[in-house]
Subunit: 233 residues, 2 copies
DNA sequence: TCACATTTGTCCGTATGTATC
DNA sequence: AGATACATACGGACAAATGTG
C-alpha cells in the first residue's frame, strides 16, 4: 500500500530563479551584503551565476518585492541592498486582511490589546531619552495644530515611540505593522481636523499619566484614544 | 528656495509589469477572479495585455510571491487564483524580525499580549461550536501522545481555535501570524516530546478554565503556556 | 547643450522540461 | 508511447532612463 500523503517536503529547487533568489537573500540575511551595497548589474550577475538575464531578473523581482533590494535604472544604477523590509510585509498583511473582509473595529480591538501591553511595559521601562522623544513629539503635534496643519503623522509616531519605550523590538515592529494596517483600512477619507486634534489631546493625557506612572489611568486613556475617537469618522 | 523633501509621492508606474500586476491583483481583490479560477497561459495573457511574455512572467512572479496565485506547469496548467495569502505575509514579517535580530523572548511577550486579549474575548463569546472544536483538538492531541507522536501541530491549532472563539477575525490572522513567527524563530530544533506534552497539559487546563469562565485562572495558565514551558528548549 | 557609456525595461525567437491526454 | 500544451530558460536586440565628460 502506498501512503497518500508523504511526510516529506518535496525538494523543489526546480526553478533556477528561486535558487538565485535564495543565494542572494542569504548573503543579505547573514550580513555579507549590507544595506547600501550595490550588486553587479543583471548581465554580470548572469555571468557569475551562469544563468540567463531573464532568470536574474525574476530573482531580482522577488528580492525587490520582499523589500531586500531597490533597483535603480540608468548609468551607475542596478540593485542596491535595502534595510527596512517591514513595509513590504505590512502591505501584504494589509492585503490579507482586506481579502478576509476584516472590519476596522476588529483591527482596532487587536491594536488595543497590543498597545495596552506596550503601555504597561513602557510605564516601567521608559528612560529619560524616551520621555524626551515623547515630549518632542507632542510639541511637534502642537506646533502643527497651531499652523492649522494635520498632526496625523506625529500621532502615529507617538505610538511608535511608546513601543520603543517598552524596550521590546517585537512590539515596535508589530505596532508599526498594525498601525499601518489600521491606517490602510480607513484610507478612504483622512480624519478631519477636529478628530486629529482630539488624538493629540489624548496623547498628551496619556503622556502625563505615563510619567506619573498612573497605570490604570493611562490604560483608560489609551482605550479612549484607540476605540472611541476614531468612531466618528 | 526649494523644498528639500517633497510631500508628493512620485508616480512611478513606468514599469509595464507593475501595471499588469496591479490589474490582475485588483480583479482578485474585487472578487471578479475567485480562488480556483484559471488565468490564461502566459502567451495568451501577453496577447490580451499587448505585452511580451517576459513582462507577463515578471507580473506573475510578483503575484505568486504575494500569494495571489500559484502556477502549475505542464498540460492544462497555468496561473491559478489562490485564497490564503496570509502565509506569504507571515514569511516576510518573519524575515523582517530576523533581520532586526529580535529575540524569541520579545516575540513571546508580544504573543502573550495578543493572546491574553483573545482569551478574554473567547471566554465571553465562545459558543457550543467553539467548545466542540476545542474539545476535539485536545482529544486529537491526546491520541497523538498515546501513539508517541508529537502533537505540536495540534498545539498551534489550539491557539487558532481560541482566536476563532473570540469572534474577531483580525485576532485569527494576527495569532496565526505571530505564532508562525514564534515557530519560525525557534525552528532550529523542534521541541522535545516532554515539552509538547507539557503544552498539551497546559491547553487542557486552559480549556477547563475557559468553560468555567474562570478568567484570571485561564490568563495565568496562558502565561505559563507561552512564557515558561518554551524556555527549557 | 550635446554626445556617450552604462544599466534597466521590453520584445522576440527558440529550445527544453514537464504534466496531461 | 506519442502528441499536446504549458512553464522554464537562453540569447539577441532595441528602447528608455540616468549619469559622465
Amino acid at each position: 500500500m502506498r501512503v497518500k500523503k508523504t511526510i516529506f517536503t518535496p525538494v523543489r529547487s526546480k526553478r533556477t530563479f528561486e535558487d538565485v533568489y535564495l543565494q542572494i537573500r542569504q548573503l543579505i540575511m547573514q550580513g555579507t551584503l549590507k544595506p547600501g551595497d550595490r550588486l553587479p548589474p543583471e548581465a554580470e550577475l548572469g555571468k557569475q551565476f551562469n544563468v540567463g538575464r531573464q532568470t536574474i531578473r525574476e530573482a531580482l523581482r522577488i528580492l525587490e518585492l520582499s523589500g531586500f533590494i531597490v533597483i535603480q535604472i540608468g548609468y551607475g544604477g542596478g540593485p542596491i541592498v535595502k534595510d527596512n523590509i517591514v513595509g513590504k510585509a505590512t502591505e501584504m498583511l494589509l492585503d490579507a486582511l482586506k481579502l478576509a473582509k476584516i472590519s476596522i473595529e476588529e483591527v482596532a480591538a487587536a491594536r488595543l490589546a497590543m498597545e495596552k501591553a506596550v503601555l504597561n511595559e513602557a510605564i516601567e521601562r521608559a528612560d529619560e531619552e524616551d520621555i524626551k522623544n515623547l515630549r518632542e513629539n507632542l510639541l511637534k503635534a502642537k506646533e502643527l495644530i497651531a499652523k492649522k496643519q494635520s498632526p496625523i503623522d506625529a500621532g502615529f509616531e507617538f505610538h511608535i515611540l511608546l513601543a520603543k519605550a517598552s524596550k521590546n523590538n517585537a512590539f515596535v515592529i508589530l505596532v508599526e505593522t498594525i498601525n499601518a494596517i489600521n491606517r490602510g483600512l480607513r484610507n478612504r477619507k483622512p480624519p478631519d481636523f477636529r478628530t486629529v486634534k482630539a488624538y493629540a489631546q489624548a496623547h498628551e493625557e496619556i503622556f502625563e499619566a505615563l510619567i506619573r506612572k498612573e497605570r490604570d489611568k493611562a490604560i483608560r486613556l489609551l482605550e479612549k484614544d484607540i476605540l472611541e475617537i476614531g468612531k466618528s469618522n
